[in-house]
Amino acid sequence: MIPLSGPSAADAREFRNGMLMAADEINQRSGILGRKIELFFEDTGSQSAPEVVRAARHLIGHHNVHAIINGYNIGSQNSEYEVIADAGIIYIHHNTLLQHHDTVMSDPDRYFGCFMGDPAEYWYGQGFIKFLSWLRETGQWEPRNSRIAIISGNKPYSVVIANAMASATGQFGWDLVKRPIVVKSSTENWDEILDDIRAHDPAVLATTQFYSGDLARFHLKFMENPLPCLLYLQYGAMHRTFSEIVGDKGKGAIVGTVIGLPRDEIGKNFSRMYTERFGANSTPEVGCQPYTSLHHYAIAAAIAGRTGGPGEAQVNRQVAQCLLNYTYRSVAGTIRYHPKWQSVVPYPDAVRDPSLGLPHLFYQIQGPDQERALIAPEPYADSQFELPPWLNNASVG
């Protein structure tokens, strides 16, 4: 279930690539206990509840699938969980949504097969405030004051991140200048919003908008008359589209992801194979998500002894138990499911040990043709934080 024709089509292509690559690798080694994996892709368009539910029904009813594994569909508000729970199959997605915790915990027996292959978006908010505090406490950055301004997108994902950031500020000695400003996608009145924020003179400005196009438009507006503050952009700024639009002006902005590719031997090797197969313009950081989850599913199913189709919940309960029991060191880091949330536990946001959680990676954007600087957390960081150019100029001036 991938949004091949909507605003997230670029990501959807990478999700498809990741699935193709994982299925080929598994099938070359004779599949799951001798049975080859067969893939079916359904387009979820703009990721609305009706589109995602329709896709799930079609996959289950028409193709009799044993598992649904995809990237994300963030507009369905978990509506598809009902169809999947009724069928009793395995579902692994990367929606990065806190509502997954709530739905699963509301009836663990019914939603036994629903897994989120990455941490909830909530961790972006909390983790970002810890990241800022870490910069401050290690002396890498001396904030002019303790004020933080937050602009939120209007999707649940963006609102939750903005709320989580806002609620963590006080505990770490930061002051929120005002409640997060919620803006809609493709907003036009950036001048007004930025002037309002400028009046509060924050040391940090964070925006949690989802789409890379929205983030790029905001960023260009910000750079017309930069505020003297650190700038954080949500995950969408990791995309090539963002870099293509903002070019050199992106340099210095901070961006994070709770699922990405560490630059260790495993991550680099995957990245190389992925771009060799899908081209230099492909994005292994996105493709790695379903790639990782399909591999984990195959291992769990092999240990469980078989896979189950619709109506074979008892078999799939065994597979689900194996997904929970067997921690998997994937190309993206450690996939370890929380037993109650059935979502991946993040490092260092929720665990101290990097071998027990998926790394929440923080980057600083460089030039359009340069690799982003991975600045936190240890032991994954390979670069140092640098003051963004607009702050450097401000201090010189």
Binding site: Q77, S79, N163, Q171
Partner: protein
């Protein structure tokens, strides 16, 4: 059998040792139990030994445990023989035996060696129970003294805050004071918890719970806890802000720092009390400096002793039990944090504690479960629910609360305006049944409520009536409609759109077009 022979056989069969010594002190006879206990297979091998030879032999050959030098031990044993005194011997298998010497008529001595292991163990266990009971009594009275001592601070603070709150001139001021009262109450709760720990401290059962947290959390609580008291005394009270992550037990550390600050405020009559931090290598030193009477260097160690008071001249000291610093020191010992004091009599003192700096990444957020109640998109918002059916209403309220919302239930529809005006929070969203008791329509109520509110509140109408005309008419009034039973995902989608993306709600965007 001859009586003598029968007696000898009987003695041989005894399960305790018997030995007979001549009046010259030579071993004339011993039974098997006696020789065996000292590692000799047959009694004959000991026959004829003098007391000194016997004692030397058993020291060499048996598994006797002797802690004094050999010669001293032998001399003690001989003295016991001569004075007919009982004594106990400890063996390496853990058994304890008693030697009892009794003079015989006509000369000589009979020695009985009995196993006392069980008797001694029972005695010891009784002693332990007795000590435990005495300790428990002592702990109880210490606890009561400490509770009295430590709860006074926040209680006094609370009294002042309540008075100020009554006198407050503005809502803003009252809100701030209420917040501070809330903090004071939570400080009292924490103190009681910590005091319970003191009992455990006495019993050696305090296990620190180390976590990572910001020092600012402790500093803020010091500010709130002591600012009013210090200001009332006319002191300049300052807490310097600091943003460093610490690795310690937050409750215990707070007790220690709070004790330093309480003492500083209590004993300083004029001048200032300053709480600040500075980095010292891998530690953060939290310092409390005052301009109080100071402490002579000769008392630097004494002040941390239990019930120690420098003098009772100062009126506050008369009421001090001298427990606070002792508790602080013992807690610091448990945490392995160093406490220090420097002072100049007549000028003031500085008490400090060195706390290991932690990694901010490991900061404990105090949330065992991450769910929508904690951080969902509706968390912190208020919903007004109007539904006659108890079961449906309870289910809806519980769902909304699970999503982190505050829920207000409206169950009377007459006299609506005052009940809306009395609400603590204006609702962010209304969810109403369409057909309510008394032929009241939910849509009419929403319109009436919105006339009362400062800003109109979006509403969702739920109904079990699937009549298309009815649904159409409700939608035309600008309300999205959900058909009962309402599924959580569809409610969530509608709520999200109404609150964050109203352009996606056709009932609203349609109305806008019409307008």
């Amino acid at each position: 059998m001859e009586p003598a022979s029968a007696l000898a056989k009987g003695v041989e069969a005894l399960d305790f040792g018997v030995a007979v010594w001549s009046n010259t002190g030579a071993l004339q006879f011993c039974n098997k139990a006696f020789s065996k206990r000292f590692g000799k297979a047959s009694p004959e091998s000991l026959a004829g030994f003098s007391r000194e030879e016997f004692l030397g032999e058993i020291l060499r050959c048996s598994d006797l445990i002797v802690t004094t030098p050999a010669q001293t031990w032998i001399e003690q044993q001989i003295a016991n023989f001569e004075n007919n005194e009982r004594n106990r011997l400890l063996f390496s298998d853990g058994s304890i035996h008693q030697l009892r010497h009794t003079p015989m008529p006509g000369g000589g001595t009979i020695t009985v060696l009995s196993d006392f292991t069980e008797i001694i163990r029972s005695e010891r266990s009784l002693e332990k129970e007795r000590d435990k009971s005495a300790e428990s009594e002592r702990v109880k009275s210490r606890f009561l003294r400490a509770a009295n001592h430590d709860l006074r601070q926040p209680l006094a603070s609370l009294k002042i805050l309540i008075y100020n709150c009554i006198e407050a001139q503005s809502d803003e001021e009252r809100e701030q004071l209420l917040h501070n009262m809330d903090v004071s109450v939570s400080i009292m709760e924490d103190l009681l918890g910590a005091l319970l720990n003191i009992g455990q401290l006495d019993a050696g059962r305090v296990e620190p719970k180390i976590s990572t947290f910001q020092v600012s959390m402790i500093l803020e609580r010091m500010q709130i806890q002591f600012e009013h008291l210090a200001t009332e005394k006319g002191l300049d009270f300052r807490v310097m802000p600091s943003n460093v992550a610490l690795s310690s037990d937050r409750a215990l550390l707070e007790r220690i720092v709070s004790n330093f600050v309480a003492n500083a405020v209590r004993y300083t009559d004029t001048g200032r009390v300053l709480v600040g931090c500075r980095r010292k290598g891998r530690n953060l030193r939290i310092q409390v400096t005052d301009t109080g009477p100071g402490i002579p260097e000769t008392h630097y160690e004494d002040i941390f002793k239990e019930f120690f008071r420098i003098s009772t001249k100062h009126s506050y000291r008369k009421h001090s039990l001298g427990l606070g610093l002792n508790i602080a020191k013992r807690m610091a010992d448990v945490l392995d944090h160093r406490i220090s004091v420097t002072s100049t009599p007549g000028k003031g003192s500085t008490f400090s504690i060195d706390v290991p700096i932690g990694s901010v990444w490991h900061s404990d957020m105090g949330e065992p479960d991450i769910n929508e109640r904690v951080g969902g998109e509706f968390s912190g918002l208020t919903a007004l629910v109007i539904e006659d059916d108890d079961i449906l209403r309870d289910a809806l309220v519980s769902l909304l609360e699970r999503w982190g919302m505050t829920v207000i239930v409206l169950d009377r529809y007459d006299n609506l305006q005052p009940s809306i005006a009395d609400l603590e929070n204006e609702p962010d969203l209304i969810i109403t049944d369409y057909r309510l008791q008394g032929a009241v329509q939910g849509t009419d109520l929403v319109i009436e409520i919105n006339d009362t509110l400062e800003k109109p509140c979006p509403a969702i109408v739920v109904t079990a009536d699937t009549n298309p005309d009815l649904i159409k008419s409700i939608r035309q009034q600008g309300f999205p409609v959900l058909i009962k039973p309402v599924s959580p995902p569809s409610l969530r989608v509608t709520m999200h759109n109404l609150l964050y993306e109203p352009e996606l709600v056709p009932e609203i965007s349609g109305r806008t077009d019409d307008g």
